[in-house]
């Protein structure tokens, strides 16, 4: 709290309703907070703005392009139309690949969430060296170059006849989604008081009931954000998907890659814009849900 040498005019007007012993300090506290204790300097704001533009600009470019014509990529687009969107929603290739991506993403996220949450909870109770080694092992997919994972997956899946199948995509994408869930749930657990588990047991709840009535509600936000990360990771994964593709089964990133490299089809701009908008909306909704549970 900052101390102000004199009462501000606003503070002088208000105290009539408050008990005299309390009013000055209470008013001062709210004033200090409203004003900001350490104002952010202008140059820092400028840096933030530059970084934000650098990060967002490439993504934003694609949105005006998606309203262009069907003949070629152009920026800025010459005449605005919804042709590309019409293409996207009428072409069976695009729609099938979108459906494939959603199905693979949801299933992969489901598996990654279950495995990652179980691992995080288990590692939370385990201490010392074994826990550190296990954690490092589970994080490997995050640091391994995608192409290495892709080739390894491709060779083993050839043997197991999983190339070009939903199961193959789901398994591979679940594996690369696990670290995201692990990280999100682990950070949610770091604020989790484990005496709550003992309290729950003493009150007659079995470990499974304790998980569903205490642990789940308290780390649910972490699990949900891990699940979303896992879904998005699968949804935009392209390297493994290129190796596993099959004429009969392609995910949307592969279709987008094809549309640029072989056909030069600007429909891809509409597809990209849709992905950007949907992912952004999902993340904003998550943020909103998160802040709402916190203020309760």
């Amino acid at each position: 709290m900052t101390l102000q040498p004199t009462q501000s005019p606003a503070a002088m007007k208000e105290p009539a309703t408050l008990p005299p012993s309390q009013s000055p300090s209470a008013t001062r506290r709210t004033r200090g907070r409203a004003r900001g204790i350490d104002p952010i300097p202008w140059w820092l704001k400028l840096v933030v703005a530059l970084v934000a533009v650098y990060l967002i600009l490439p993504t934003v470019f694609v949105i005006p392009m998606s309203f262009g014509s069907t003949r070629s990529f152009a920026f800025p687009p010459k005449n605005l139309s919804l042709d590309l969107y019409r293409n996207f929603f009428t072409d069976p290739d695009w729609l099938t690949s979108l459906r494939n991506s959603v199905v693979v993403g949801l299933l992969a996220a489901l598996i990654a969430t279950i495995v990652g949450t179980a691992a995080a909870v288990g590692l939370h109770h385990l201490q010392g060296k074994p826990a550190r080694i296990l954690r490092a092992l589970l994080m490997i997919p995050l640091v391994t170059p995608a192409i290495v994972v892709a080739v390894a997956v491709y060779i083993s899946f050839l043997k197991w006849h999983l190339v070009g199948t939903v199961q193959g995509y789901v398994l591979a994408h679940a594996a690369i989604g696990v670290p995201f869930v692990l990280v999100a749930v682990t950070s949610a657990l770091s604020g989790f008081d484990s005496t709550l588990l003992r309290a729950s047991a003493s009150l007659g709840a079995s470990p499974l009931r304790t998980f569903s009535r205490v642990t789940m509600p308290l780390i649910g936000k972490g699990i949900l954000s891990g699940a979303v990360f896992a879904f998005v990771t699968s949804f935009d994964e392209v390297v493994i998907a290129l190796f596993l593709r099959d004429p009969t089964f392609q995910t949307m990133p592969v279709q987008m890659y094809n549309s640029v490299t072989y056909e030069i089809d600007p429909t891809m701009a509409a597809a990209s814009s849709l992905v950007v908008v949907v992912v952004t909306v999902v993340c904003l909704v998550l943020q909103y849900l998160g802040s709402r549970t916190k203020t309760r």
Binding site: D193, T195, L196, R198, A199, S200, A201, S202, L203, G204, A205, S206, P207, R209, T210, R213, V214, P217, L218, R296
Partner: protein, 384 residues
């Protein structure tokens, strides 16, 4: 503050108290817990906690009292021994099947549930009908004086209120016993006093078995029917607060409960024969009744005197005949509000002692040579 053990109950009241006692008997037989460290955390402890008794497990940190509580609760598995509730062996039961209420130092309330939902938690686990749950929650919140707070979340309550909610939650399902793991440790001094009285009142009203863990000897003396004093994983002494204070068996007990003047005795031979011991060349008389049964001849022992039994005479003639006495020097005078104490060097100088001063022992000054004396029946010879 009134205490259960300090009041002398009428026979009628005592009979009623016995009849009311509906708690569970907890019997620990040769219980050990070894975490693989050089010393076992709990080393072959046998202890019976009577139905309706307020038993305190007291000891310094690392003495095994909390591990013992966790063994009773089922949070730790026994290395050896057994635990019985009213004759039923619970040694292999997981915690959620032992039907024990528990209070924790950090309250351990579920932050995502309201006060009412927290208290209803054990009742919902037991599948009570909804109307019955509402009724019991209302009753127990009244018992802990938190009526009207049922819609609040734990974070909206003070520490004292949170511990009351935890207390309500731990007793609402009529558990076999209530285990309290330093529940007042996180509260400030005034609040601790209030909650001590609250816990005592609820113990009286429920008549169930309470097992209380603390390292605070005052708290233990205030609340307990009996105290089990722990030292290095073993039971040092079990008894009523009065018994532990007035007739300690070991130097550890004498030092842990209250202050003591300690005279080291190299060989207890003279003590066990019931005559006298030598201390720094002086002879101190010993009465057989004041010797702890754990003292053995040939072993070192200690003679202890409580500060309130230590008297100060300015001249040797003032010492009554038959009393033990040693020369002393006043080192310091402490004013402690309702009374004063003198810090003394006893005998040749190495031993530091303490005497609580009576109002008439006023005119002492620091550096004065005096004689410290006490009645032979007010001392106690204890094992090391």
């Amino acid at each position: 503050m009134p205490t259960t053990h300090a009041t002398t109950p009428t026979p009628e009241a005592a009979a009623e108290a016995v009849n009311n006692r509906s708690g569970t008997r907890i019997r620990l037989t040769d219980v050990s817990k070894d975490f693989g460290l050089p010393e076992p955390a709990v080393d072959t402890i046998s202890l019976t906690i009577e139905p309706g008794e307020f038993m305190t497990l007291l000891g310094p940190s690392g003495s095994g009292k909390t591990t013992t509580l966790n063994l009773i609760a089922g949070f730790e598995t026994l290395t050896t021994g057994s635990i019985m509730f009213d004759g039923g062996d619970v040694s292999a039961l997981p915690p959620h099947k032992r039907n024990l209420g528990m209070l924790f130092q950090n309250y351990a309330l579920f932050p995502h549930l309201t006060v009412a939902q927290n208290v209803a938690y054990p009742l919902r686990e037991r599948r009570l009908p909804k109307a019955r749950i509402t009724e019991k929650v209302g009753q127990v919140l009244e018992l802990v004086q938190l009526t009207g707070r049922d819609k609040h979340y734990p974070s909206q309550l003070s520490g004292g209120q949170q511990q009351r909610v935890a207390l309500a939650r731990a007793i609402v399902f009529d558990p076999n016993a209530l285990l309290l793991d330093e529940p007042l440790g996180a509260l400030d001094r005034n609040l601790r006093g209030t909650l001590q009285q609250e816990i005592q009142r609820i113990h009286r009203e429920l008549g169930s078995t309470f097992v209380f863990v603390t390292h605070d000897q005052e708290e233990a003396m205030n609340l307990s029917d009996r105290i089990a004093l722990f030292n290095k994983g073993r039971l040092e002494q079990v008894g009523t607060p009065e018994a532990l204070y007035a007739t300690p068996e070991t130097l550890f007990t004498a030092r842990f409960l209250g202050d003591s003047n300690v005279f080291d005795i190299a060989d207890a031979k003279g003590v066990t024969s019931g005559s006298a011991v030598a201390w720094e060349g002086r002879t101190l008389a010993v009465e057989a009744g004041t010797v702890s049964p754990r003292v053995t001849a040939g072993e070192p022992a200690a003679l202890v005197v409580r500060p309130e039994d230590m008297r100060i005479a300015t001249t040797p003639d003032e010492v009554p005949s038959g009393a033990n006495h040693v020369s002393a020097t006043v080192r310091q005078l402490d004013y402690l509000g309702s009374y004063r104490t003198a810090v003394l060097s006893l005998g040749g100088g190495g031993t530091v002692g303490r005497a609580r001063l009576a109002p008439q022992e006023g005119g002492l000054r620091v550096g004065q040579a005096v004689t410290a004396w006490w009645h032979v029946d007010r001392q106690r010879v204890v094992a090391l």
